[in-house]
């Protein structure tokens, strides 16, 4: 990471507790430099979604609370803001599981993204056209009810809808979930294009380590609520541990996750 690059987001040592008792994050720190894509990687339940929700302040709606540490976004301390205030500051989260408005048409879904902005009819149409230029597939399906479109299209609707808020910072929660590899590649291409052409900074949570790192600049790996490893995307892709545990490649041959863990346990036992 270049030193002179300004960080749009800085998360410092946050701890998150749900329902006042369940400790979900122990100690997570991360930085997103302006205009970069940063990947947040880890298995199910590692705390990726919780981290994103504490940043977007969606946490409160699930009775979660940041109990320690601080979040700084765009020179503001994020504390008790509401999600709609955050959208006003240019931060938007695409929630896990797409969450389209199923009974609205694709186009209505996208227009709903512009709710917080005061746009004239003409400006709105212009914005729509711009969005459709990235999501060509959605233009064909603009009149379909979103609930009846395919999973990939719904994920595109969710991202397009979020882009309509004109964000400076986009939080993506598992865009690859439940999608065919081809569609995952298509969506990551679009995300990359949005980053390059619209200059939006992106923090994305993913289980699909391989594709996430290939499309990011920097990566953090979290496990049980702690950051275990961080580094540039290239260095992580080349890292032996990451290869073993997250990419399923070990000593040149492919291993599944369970074998990799077993190998690790053996090593630990030997060390004892």
């Amino acid at each position: 990471m270049e030193k002179d690059c300004k960080n749009i987001l800085e998360v410092k040592n946050i701890e998150v507790v749900y329902d006042n008792v369940i400790l979900a994050l122990h100690n997570v720190s991360l930085k997103v430099p302006q205009g970069k894509i940063v990947a947040l990687l880890g298995a199910n339940g590692a705390g990726k979604s919780t981290t994103l929700k504490s940043i977007s302040t969606m946490l409160a709606s699930e009775r979660g609370k940041v109990t320690k540490g601080s979040i700084n976004y765009d020179d503001k301390v994020i504390n008790n803001q509401t999600p709609s205030e955050m959208v006003g500051f240019g931060m938007v989260q695409v929630l896990e599981g797409r969450r389209c408005f199923g009974h609205l048409t694709v186009e209505e879904n996208i227009i709903a993204g512009a709710y917080s902005r005061k746009l004239s009819r003409g400006d709105l149409n212009q914005e729509l056209e711009k969005i459709y230029s990235y999501f060509k597939r959605l233009k064909e399906r603009r009149k379909s009810q979103a609930g009846f479109t395919s999973g990939g299209e719904q994920q595109m609707v969710a991202v397009a809808r979020a882009m309509m808020t004109k964000p400076k910072m986009l939080l993506l929660d598992e865009p690859s979930m439940g999608l065919a590899p081809q569609l995952v590649a298509e969506i990551f291409n679009i995300v990359k294009m949005l980053n390059e052409k619209e200059g939006v900074s992106i923090l994305l949570a993913e289980q699909n380590t391989n594709i996430a790192l290939k499309n990011s600049d920097y990566g953090y790996i979290i496990e049980t609520g702690n950051v275990m490893l961080e580094g540039s995307a290239k260095s992580l892709l080349g890292n032996d541990k990451v290869k073993e545990l997250y990419l399923g490649i070990s000593k040149g041959k492919r291993l599944n996750f369970r074998d990799a863990v077993k190998d690790n346990e053996k090593k630990i036992n030997k060390a004892h």
Binding site: S56, M58, A60, S61, E62, R63, T82, P83, S84, M86, V87, G88, V92, Q93, V94, L95, R99, C100, F101, G102, H103, L104, E108, N109, I111, A112, G113, Y115, S116, Q145, G147, F148, G151, A158, R161, A162, M164, T165
Partner: protein, 301 residues
């Protein structure tokens, strides 16, 4: 022969028109159901509260229009306070919690209305008689009450207005988005509190109009709250989340209960009207639980 057909027609049309009164009440329920996915048990109390306040303001000597406007403002205030004091503290709680809160809210509104305006039955005159319109009676030989016809027209007007509001305005789009997924709606910056305020105020105004129609027919009294429960079969038949559903459901309930009362009622020694709609709603629950116009549950597998 023509006489009996004419008679059936008269019963049927009379039923349809009185059904629009149910539609008006049901409309208030639908509005709130759309935004909070809850059956608002306070809707009956809101009807009572609104129309009793209207009568009270008239007794203070306010002219009709001024009193109407004052109650509209009052109902917006009720919506504002409900959002601030009941809904906002309960935000992110389950729908059942909010359902229970509406029961409590109902008691509070009933209590305030009666404490302020007293418990006696009031007459409300809208200047529209509850008797057959002579012109129609003479020319078509149909006896249709002027009040029924007015209620029908008013209901139709309100539905048109609300449908346009939801379909073509920005806040309407916001409301539909919230109705589908409140979490996703707030994630893209749609402020839930504005939507709640809008919906509760609109439900308040609808309650006032419904209360005025019912009050003119049956007197402004506590029983209005029970009458509002007739909206339940209307909603089951029409679909909880659909405005056209509330209308068609109301018409259907009105027509069916009148026709059954007149033709089958005598075999049961009358009184069918009181339970026929509920029987019909049980049939709907068995065979078409989402109602006639309810939104089908879309789920990808």
């Amino acid at each position: 022969m023509t006489d009996s057909i004419l008679f059936f027609f008269e019963v049927f049309v009379g039923g349809l028109l009185s059904g629009t009164m149910y539609s008006l009440v049901a409309l208030g329920f639908v509005l709130i159901y759309k935004a909070s996915s809850t059956f608002n048990f306070a809707q009956g109390a809101m009807v009572f509260f609104a129309v009793l306040s209207f009568c009270g303001f008239m007794e203070y000597g306010m002219p009709f229009g001024v009193a109407f406007f004052a109650v509209v403002l009052l109902m917006i205030l009720v919506g504002l306070l409900t959002e601030r004091l009941v809904l906002r503290p309960l935000m992110n709680q389950s729908e059942d919690t909010i359902l229970m809160a509406t029961i409590g809210l109902g008691f509070v509104l009933e209590g305030i209305a009666q404490a302020k305006w007293g418990v006696e039955v009031r007459k409300l005159s809208l200047g529209i008689g509850d008797f057959p319109i002579p012109w129609i009676a003479d020319n078509l030989k149909l006896f249709i009450s002027a009040l029924d016809l007015t209620a029908g027209l008013v209901a139709f007007g309100m539905i048109l207005l609300l449908t346009l509001l939801f379909k073509y305005t920005k806040i309407g789009l916001g409301l539909r988005a919230v109705a589908d997924d409140p979490g996703a709606a707030s994630s893209i910056g749609i402020p839930l509190k504005h939507i709640m305020l809008l919906v509760w105020s609109a439900a308040g105004v609808v309650a006032l109009v419904a209360g005025m129609m019912w009050g003119a027919r049956a007197g402004v009294q506590f029983a209005l709250i029970e009458l509002a429960l007739k909206a339940l079969p209307v909603l089951i038949i029409g679909g909880f989340s659909s405005i056209p559903g509330a209308i068609v459901g109301g018409l259907l309930v009105g027509a069916v209960e009148k026709v059954l009362e007149v033709y089958i009622g005598p075999y049961f020694k009358g009184g069918i009207e009181a339970w026929a709609p509920y029987m019909l709603s049980i049939l709907f629950l068995l065979y078409r639980p989402e109602g006639l116009f309810g939104e089908k549950i879309i789920r990808r597998v």
